[in-house]
Structure formats: structure tokens, C-alpha cells
């Protein structure tokens, strides 16, 4: 069979149901095979939209996403989603067309060295050199993307090679001598960790996106409840523990709650599971959690002791480690009331600084953006899959929409990619057709991949886009206000475009909301409208996201 037909067989063997992409000269052969290859293809309007949609699909379902692009500009348009998937450990296989082999290295038409360009942004990449290699390379790509710490893999196929007839036999094993994953977790270290937890007086459990990736939310929750451990999660980890809950402190980090950040600051033991002590968590590294010892569980050995030296390092998959940790902890005698004093202190912070008090509601009908998020929570019963873009609205969503379940919250954390929200929602909606999928975005971010509204309209993908419209690149404006003497340089977006008309032009339903008194009902009505809907919500123009650890400052110096 032709190599491209073998590609289809491999995709099916990997359980792929849908791929996202856009054709061009170099990958026409692949598209020819897709024509009747038995795999659903979503025609996006920009390759970046396809890449982020594949990420959204992967994050919502836990399966590997697949994104296609042609050579040259098709491939370079994928660079941002590739990097995004790398930073947030999202399993996506990117298959790019390449110019024919005789043109390689000659600056041929639409030639781009995609392997070279993406090298720092991939978990792995494979340049096909012989058509017979294609099936094995694809299976290797899926295996690498999915296992260990998940991530993006690029497979670049020169167009002439994809047209050759090759002998195809299903491949059931992959052999990668240089690829090892460490998933079990050292039993002795786990026992040590349990003992340290049992001895701690001021412990905090700090969970991250690794828990979601490892499908370990239930185990994580059970572990936190083996005792009255205070729990916090990173932006990427939200949903790993059901919020709200008496043990839940809220998100930690730059825009986290005071309770979570202060608890980290005063903790004597921090148990980090599937997170990586990113600078948005630690603030000033030298003043981060100065009294704490650290247990660090991660599937990627390179994360352990990268930023913070771990006292008890455990390399392993979160789920495996948690199951063992629960058993070890339960086997220990623990003092019943040893955490009471710690909880008194935490309760004090929670009472004094609840996240609901991080803003004041308007006195008139104006919609405060935080209030908007609360209203979305009410209107969706807290059950929707929420994607977001990047900026203030993203932080407000993380703060004011308590996520109950894993894979309910999909956003771009590590790279902070504006334009992620809509295509990611599209991918999530295709992966989870029974769920309500809402994209909470800003008027700036939304304009970075608006073209995908056409995809939604054509395919009938019923995403509900809610624009927190402040007429600004709000987060940058906030920083200019706070740190740059209010010199608002190039952050005013005016009130362009008219999003309602834009939605209609794209064949979607559009509504504008301006009144807080009817907000929840209006949102309910918009969300209940079939098909893709754009809700343009006018919110307070100059509202700041608080509380906040100023960049480079320590957690105890939170402001706002």
C-alpha cells in the first residue's frame, strides 16, 4: 500500500479518531489518503488553530492529539502549539509534510527545516528518510508522546516518500533503547515520605498538572484525605482536587490565594506531586518556603532538584506513587490532633482573605470581570469544561471557578499562549461531545485565533465563547499600571471589532451583555443556544487581578 495509507492504518491502530489540520502541496498525499481513510479530519483555518485544537482534545480526553500541516509555512505555523505542548506536557503528534527529498537543503519552494526549528520545542522529532520507516516512526512518535512525561513529537515526511508503495505490517512493539521511563517510584523513598508526612506539624500538599496527566486525581484526593492535609494546586493542577472543600486552600502562586501562599511560606514540609517549582509558584527563589523540607514526586527525573533541592526525591508516575504512599501512610500511627494548630492558622487566613473578597462588586449594573466568572460558574452549574486564553480573565477564571474534576480546566500555563482558548475548546468539544464547553477569553486573546469560528460553524462544534471585554490587553495594562507608572503603552484595543457582528459573519450566534443584574440568566440562555455562540461581555475596563505576588517578590509580601 502507499505509505500514506500506512499512515492511516497506524493512526487507526493508535486509536486515533480525529485529526486537525490544513492541507498544502507537500502533504496532499496524506490528504488523499484521508479522503476515504476512515479518520475524521477537522479542517481548521490556521495550522496553529489545529495544533491547539489537538492539545485541547488531548487535555480533555487524555488521548494523544494529532495535528497536520504542510511544509514550510504550514509547519512554521505549528511552532507555537508545539512549544505550548512541550511546556504543558501535552501528548500531541504533529505530522508535517516536507518538500521532496531531492529538494531538501536547496531552499526549495516551501522548504523549512522544521526538525531544526522545533528541536528545542519537542520531546522528540523524527525526519523520515526512507518510506519503509514511516509506520515504525509513527508508532514510536505515539509511544513517546504518551508515556513518561507526555509531550509533543514531530514527524516530518518528505512528500515523495509518502507516495511510495511500502510493505505494511501492523507493528505491535516499539524498540527505543535510548528511551526509559521511570514510573514505579522507589519503595524506600515512598516510605520515607510517608514518615516525614506523619511527623510534620505544618505540611502542605502541592499538586500540579502531572496528576491530571497521570489520571491520578482520585488517588490524589484520597491521599490528601488520609489525614487533614492542607491542599493547594498550581494553575495546571486545578481539578486534581475537588474544590471547594474544607481541605482546599485554593490555587497557589502569583495570583493564588493568600491561604495557599502563606501556608507554603510557613510550612515545615511540602509534598510536591507532579509540579515543577516554576517561578510563578516560587516567587523569589531564595525566600521560597524557607522553613520547609521538600518531598518531590515527578515522572521526569530532570525536574527533581532543578529549582528546589528535594530532601526526598521520588521519580515515578503520580498514580503509582500515590497508591503506595496512601498504603504507607495508613500503616503508620499518626497523632490525631497534631495538625489542629496548623489548621487554626490556615483558617485564620482563609477567613481574613477569602478569594471572594479580592474584589469589590460594582454599585451600578456594570459587570466586574470577577463577577462574570462567578456567573459563568452559576450558569454552568460548575460542570462545564472551561478553556481559557491568557491574561487577567485566565487568572480570574482560575480563582473564581472552583473546578471539581480533572480535565475540566484547559489552559496554556507554561507558555502563556494568547489564542489558545478557542481552538482548545474546539478540540475539547470534539473529544467530549456530551459536555458543555466554554471558552473564557479576553478581547485581545480572542483575536489571535478568531478564524476558528468558521471551523466551529462549518463543523457544528457547539463551543460557547465568553469574552471578558475590557478593551485592553488587560494583564499588560495592569503591569504598566503597577510597575511602570501607568504609562499605558500600546495596550488600548478600543472597542474593535464588533464581536457580535463578527460572530454572525462567521455563521455563529452572537450576543452582547452589559447588565450584571440579568447576567446569570443571560449567560444561561446563551449557553443553551445550540451551535457555536459568542458572548461579548462588557466588563470594567481597569480592574486589576488580585491578590498578587509581584514578580521577584516573596509569597509573604503578597499585595491586593
Amino acid at each position: 500500500m502507499r505509505a500514506v495509507e500506512a499512515v492511516m492504518e497506524c493512526l487507526k491502530a493508535e486509536g486515533v479518531e480525529v485529526v486537525f489540520g490544513l492541507p498544502g502541496g507537500a502533504n496532499i498525499p496524506t490528504y488523499d489518503a484521508l479522503y476515504d481513510g476512515g479518520i475524521r479530519h477537522i479542517l481548521v483555518r490556521h495550522e496553529a488553530g489545529g495544533g491547539h485544537a489537538a492539545e485541547g482534545y488531548a487535555k480533555a480526553t487524555g488521548k494523544v492529539g494529532v495535528s497536520l500541516g504542510t511544509s514550510g509555512p504550514g509547519a512554521t505555523n505549528l511552532v507555537t502549539p508545539i512549544m505550548d505542548a512541550m511546556m504543558d506536557s501535552v501528548p500531541v503528534v504533529f505530522i508535517t509534510g516536507q518538500v521532496k527529498t531531492e529538494l531538501l537543503g536547496t531552499d526549495g519552494f516551501q522548504e523549512a527545516d522544521v526538525i531544526g526549528i522545533t528541536m528545542p520545542a519537542v520531546k522528540h522529532s523524527i525526519m523520515i528518510q526512507h518510506p519503509n520507516e514511516i509506520p515504525r516512526a509513527l508508532h514510536e512518535a505515539f509511544h513517546i508522546a504518551r508515556t513518561g512525561r507526555p509531550g509533543p513529537v514531530v514527524v516530518d515526511i518528505p512528500t515523495d516518500l509518502s507516495r511510495v508503495d511500502i510493505p505494511y505490517e501492523p507493528i505491535t512493539d516499539v524498540h527505543l533503547p535510548g528511551y526509559q521511563t521511570f514510573t514505579e517510584g522507589n519503595a524506600k523513598q515512598i516510605r520515607q515520605a510517608a514518615k516525614a508526612l506523619a511527623a510534620a506539624r505544618r505540611p502542605v500538599i502541592y499538586g500540579g498538572g502531572g496528576i491530571i496527566n497521570s489520571n491520578a486525581a482520585a488517588e490524589f484526593t484520597e491521599f490528601c484525605r488520609t489525614d487533614r492535609f492542607p491542599v493547594t494546586c498550581t494553575l495546571m493542577g486545578l481539578g486534581a482536587y475537588p474544590a471547594p472543600d474544607p481541605q482546599w486552600l485554593g490555587m497557589l502562586g502569583m495570583h493564588g490565594t493568600r491561604a495557599a501562599n502563606y501556608a507554603m511560606d510557613e510550612a515545615d514540609l511540602i509534598c510536591c506531586i507532579g509540579a515543577r517549582f516554576d517561578d510563578r509558584i516560587t516567587g523569589k527563589l531564595s525566600e521560597f518556603a524557607p522553613r520547609a523540607k521538600f518531598i518531590h514526586v515527578d515522572v521526569d527525573p530532570a525536574e527533581i532538584s532543578k529549582n528546589i533541592p528535594a530532601h526526598i526525591p521520588i521519580v515515578g508516575d503520580a498514580k503509582n506513587v500515590l497508591v503506595k504512599l496512601i498504603a504507607e501512610y495508613r500503616a503508620l500511627d499518626t497523632e490525631a490532633h497534631r495538625l489542629d494548630e496548623w489548621w487554626q492558622r490556615i483558617d485564620g487566613w482563609q477567613k481574613q482573605y477569602p478569594i471572594e473578597k479580592s474584589f469589590t462588586d460594582s454599585e451600578d449594573t456594570e459587570i466586574k470581570p470577577q463577577r462574570l466568572i462567578q456567573a459563568v460558574y452559576e450558569a454552568t452549574g460548575g460542570d462545564a469544561i472551561i478553556t481559557s486564553d491568557v491574561g487577567q480573565h485566565q487568572m480570574w477564571t482560575a480563582q473564581h471557578y472552583p473546578f471539581k474534576a480533572p480535565r475540566q480546566w484547559i489552559n496554556s500555563g507554561g507558555l502563556g499562549t494568547m489564542g489558545f482558548g478557542l481552538p482548545a475548546a474546539m478540540g475539547a468539544a470534539i473529544g467530549c461531545p456530551d459536555k458543555t464547553v466554554v471558552c473564557i477569553t479576553g478581547d485581545g486573546s480572542f483575536q489571535m485565533n478568531t478564524q476558528e469560528l468558521a471551523t466551529c460553524a462549518q463543523e457544528g462544534i457547539p463551543v460557547k465563547v465568553i469574552i471578558s471585554n475590557n478593551g485592553y490587553l488587560g494583564m499588560v495594562r495592569q503591569w504598566q499600571e503597577l510597575f511602570w507608572e501607568k504609562r499605558y503603552s500600546n495596550v488600548d484595543l478600543g472597542r474593535f471589532p464588533d464581536f457580535v457582528k463578527l460572530a454572525e459573519a462567521y455563521g455563529c450566534h452572537g450576543v452582547r451583555l452589559t447588565d450584571k443584574t440579568t447576567l446569570v440568566d443571560d449567560l444561561k440562555a446563551a449557553i443553551a443556544t445550540p451551535g457555536p455562540v459568542v458572548v461579548d461581555v462588557s466588563v470594567t475596563r481597569e480592574e486589576n487581578t488580585y491578590p498578587m505576588i509581584s514578580p521577584g517578590a516573596a509569597a509573604r509580601d503578597m499585595v491586593g
Binding site: 528541536m119 528545542p120 533503547p177 535510548g178 526509559q180 527525573p301 530532570a302 511602570w484 507608572e485 514578580p551
Partner: protein
């Protein structure tokens, strides 16, 4: 959004103070990699990206056609070396890494020196060459080329000795290294 800074200017001194310039002992990493296109770029790119400085690098075949060996020497306190090896392990084409213990390793490099030498100086240079067990590989009226093999320290010592005569050119391969004893490197 990255670090927003403030409107206050940063001084160069502050910038330097915040950078951690590490000077630990020398490390020799012996890395077995799959012999595939682009592997060296991946290794070199990783060093560049993570801010690890390579002192010398040499690449060559091994007794197995599918496997090449990259030998890298670098200077580092222990912490970054740990990160270096962990990050290298994440490259799929990297098969094995050894951070060779200096006392249990034989390391050698080869260097060629072209030294300005007219009649009067030639004898003296050749004497130095003999002390270092070097080889004269070419002589012209006004220059002489000497080949030296040995440890980096030896090559550097030789360089110091001949520099005053007028060093026209020098080329070094970078070290290759092999573990002592019967075990494999």
C-alpha cells in the same frame, strides 16, 4: 508575561551579580548516542539552550556502526552537571552517559602547533618538543609543525612553552577519554 521589571534602570553590575557564573572542577562526559542525523545538533542545542558551556567536544565512531560516542568536557559545580546529565538522558537518541571520574580515566587529546622558527630557534623548540614527547611533523624555512598528544594540562603546558617563539597557529581535537580497568566506558 515575563518579568515586568520596573522603570528603574538596571546597572550592568546588578546584571552580573544576578548571573551565577560557576567554576567547579572539570568534568568529562562520555555519551553514547544513536548514529542518526541531527543527534549532535540535539546534544549541542541542549547545552546552548540550558546555558551549559562546552569546553571541548569530540565525536567519533565506536565499535558498533549504529552508535557514536560524543566526549564533552565542561566546567561545572556538581549541581549543573546533575542537570546536564538528566537533561541529556531525556534526548531519545542518547543511549548512555558517563560522568567519568578523573582519577579512573585515561584522557588524551591531540594538538598541532605551527611555530615561527628560523634557524636559530629551531633547535630550542625541538628540544622542548622532545621533553614533551612531541613529534615534528613538518619543517619549513620559517616555521615548524609539532604534534603533541596528552592530557589537556600537558598540551597547555606545551603551548605556554612555545608561545614566546611565535605561535602561528594551534589546533586541538578536544579530549577523548576511556575508563581504566576492564569495565566499559
Amino acid at each position: 508575561m515575563g518579568d515586568p521589571g520596573t522603570k528603574d534602570r538596571l546597572t550592568l553590575e546588578e546584571l552580573e551579580a544576578s548571573g551565577s557564573i560557576r567554576t567547579g572542577r572539570k568534568h568529562i562526559l562520555s555519551i553514547l548516542v544513536e548514529n542518526k542525523p541531527g543527534v549532535l545538533t540535539r546534544v549541542a542545542g541542549l547545552f546552548a539552550r540550558r546555558g551549559f558551556n562546552i569546553d571541548t567536544l569530540s565525536v567519533g565512531p565506536t565499535d558498533d556502526d549504529h552508535v557514536s560516542r560524543i566526549t564533552i568536557t565542561l566546567d561545572g559545580a556538581n549541581h549543573p552537571i546533575d542537570q546536564v546529565t538528566k537533561q541529556l538522558h531525556k534526548l531519545i537518541n542518547v543511549l548512555k552517559i558517563r560522568d567519568l571520574e578523573p582519577s579512573e580515566t585515561v584522557a588524551r587529546e591531540l594538538a598541532l602547533f605551527k611555530i615561527a622558527a628560523d634557524g636559530t630557534q629551531r633547535a630550542e623548540i625541538m628540544q622542548i618538543c622532545e621533553i614533551f614527547r612531541g613529534k615534528v611533523v613538518d619543517v619549513t624555512k620559517r616555521s615548524i609543525i609539532i604534534e603533541i598528544t596528552g592530557t589537556t594540562e600537558k598540551v597547555e603546558a606545551f603551548e605556554r612553552m612555545v608561545r614566546p617563539f611565535g605561535l602561528v597557529e594551534m589546533m586541538r581535537t578536544g579530549e577523548i577519554a576511556i575508563a581504566r580497568g576492564r569495565g566499559e566506558t
